[in-house]
Amino acid sequence: MLSYTLKRLAQAIPTMLIVITIAFFLMRIAPGGPFDGERALPPEIEANLMAAYHLDEPLWQQYFRYLGNLAQGDFGPSFKYKDFTVTELILQGFPVSLQIGGLAMLLALAIGLPLGIIAALKRNTAVDYAVMGTALAGIAVPNFVVAPVLALVFGVMLGWLPAGGWNDGALPNLILPVIALSIQQIAYIARMMRASMIEVMGSHYIRTARAKGLTEAEVVWRHALRPALLPVTSYLGPAIAGIITGSVVIEQIFGIPGIGRYFVQGALNRDYTLVMGTVVFYGALIVLMNLIVDLIYSALDPQIRYDD
């Protein structure tokens, strides 16, 4: 297991290098630069900016300069948020996104999994239709609709919860964004769990278990649940990486200082260093989550073993 993990980590290095290279050059191919805006800058000002950020050097030189800095753990300064380095921005924002995203995922699992199981066991009944209908609505309604509605109802009209703001992560400030972020996940997980549960319940070893005279509850808990969790687990890897790196929509609507907005704003501002920083960070997180998922797999399914 250990050597498997190490091997996977070693494989991640070329993967990350490819990701970095593609992102670096794609970003530079995009028209417009970090200092283009509504106002054309006087040429002398532009020259100063280009020189200060080494943008006047040939592209290959900039690329190797970036790789060199990265190897020393230096993501460089943000082009836009001048009082912060990219590392500082990510370190300040990630715990916030992790907290919101992590809670949303836990909530989604706590609600989505039981709903999916119930729907599968009560297949083609009113319960099933109700759960799946609601889930479909949850997937269909985007969070840029859900979030403002939640803020309007609970923040403005009822006044029960803050309509926005982070307030250093106080519980009342967490509730609405976590709910808004989890709704789609609940729906996905419920649907996936239902489908996989139905499949497992129809398999031979479940029939065997029933034939042994086990109660339905024992069949579900001891034999069906673990294999049924496999597809959800493989979904969770990238999903968790996605959700804990923030959501630009949720962050902007609730004023949460996470890192989700950097992915979008960094790109729109052509803040090259910030975009690269988020890409590297997100890439590394995906690699890590996929590895964890694969390791969990072997715990869930005895047929899967990672030997050398």
């Binding site: 509504e38 100063n48 950020y53 926005g164």
Partner: protein, 543 residues
Amino acid sequence: MIAIRPRWVRQLGLASGLTLSTLAAVIAAPAMAETLDLGVTGELASFDTSQISGGIWESQILMDVYEGLVKKSPEGKVLPGMASDWQVSEDGKTWTFSLREDARWSDGEPVTAEDFVFGWRHLLDPANASKYAYMLYPLVNAREVNTGELALEELGVESRDDGRTLVVQLNQSTPYFLQLLTHYTAYPQPQHTFEQYGKEYVDLEHIVTNGAFTPTEWISQSRITTVKNPEYYEADQVALDGVRYHTIEDRNAGVSRFRAGELDIMREYSSSMYPLLKEEIPEATHMATYLGSYYYVFNHRDGHPTADPRVREALNMAVRRDVIADNIMGGTFQKSLSFVPDGIDHYQVQNAAFDDAEGNDITGDLNARMARAKELLEDAGYDQGNPLTLRLRYNTTDEHKKIAVAVSSMWRPLGVEVELVNAEATVHYQTIAEGDFDVARAGWIADYNDAENFLALLRSGVGNNYGAYANEAFDTLYDEAATTLDLDERKAILERAEALAMDDDALIPMLYYVSRNLVNPAISGWEDNIEDDHPSRWVSFEE
């Protein structure tokens, strides 16, 4: 205040049938806390004034923590700031400022003329690559210093009398110089802390400021907290204990948070919410003329149909500004026929006027305008068999899209076929700077309250002159105004220049921007003004 505020806002926000007496009762509630919660629509780039990216939200924060030689009243009038008084030489080129004796940084060190000299050199130092360094180009040698041709010490500014006097040398008389000094690029920077900490002098543990407030906390993308600066020379007149600036990029979220009572002021709400807000919280909903112009650029370069003055005139006169301002934008813009916005200091705007073939004024007659426009296009060789086709570019937002669609439909009866192309702002401005368009959306928010700041965009060969409009007579007038000392004479020359550009149909003036703010009615010392500058120094909660 926390206990009181949400109640009034909630009542205002929800009860449409609110009675005046409840409103009066809520507003009359006594103030308990004195920290202002202010929503701004973007993130400050830096507390180092040489590193600012140019967002209007940045000037709100900077004007609260720093103060230049002059400052602004709630109405936007220029008042003495760090300088107690000043003299201008007869040729208008030398300005001598006396610094006030009691000006101090927040660590108690005196603010001296040296700090101004340092701050301005810091801004113009090419190594600092300041985007807005050109604001100080009117100073002698500023451009040469900024390009590295001359040493920083050659800049036309010096400290005399042990730092009590600042002498500024300008290249030429600059009548708007005081206006320019209200901009953050002209703020002093603390030389003593820079010498101690280098570029980290603006880190929160080192920062000192000379304005009414000083920052204590910065959570990127969330909020900046400031407290009253006890060393500020008028600290006893500053009512607030501090200001919290909340970064809220989503305009609708800002409205929700204001209505939930979490904000005392929200700088900007989306124009589409105006009717609702006006209906539900009229006392809090502000809208005022703003120092900005929304216009369409004509491409004057050879090979574009808009290089033909007849085509430009026809397109210009067919635009129905009242429909755009009132019906499409719901009254959140003001229609305009001039490039310089109405309300600029010491200036009378020069409206475009449209004549028929006989020279009769038809500006107010839509049918006559459309008929004349058709004639002009036919003269220029366009008809059904050879329709005029145009590429209209705009940067992607809902507002710009609505307007572009409306304008192209106003041109359709003339037989004009319009291809609409949109791109994100960065790409849009780069593309139009390269000249790849016939008509393009643009906007200009002035850096200071002077007509010159708008007319400068129409000089030949200037970067922001996207349409490459070039008229020697215009350039001559512009240069003449720049060297004219008499303010009335200068006003007349600038007006002639604008009139000339309007006559040339240099561009399509369309709308004046308005400022849109939500302000808790329990606040005083906050006034609408054309520059939309609102120093928190004057703000207080009514007792």
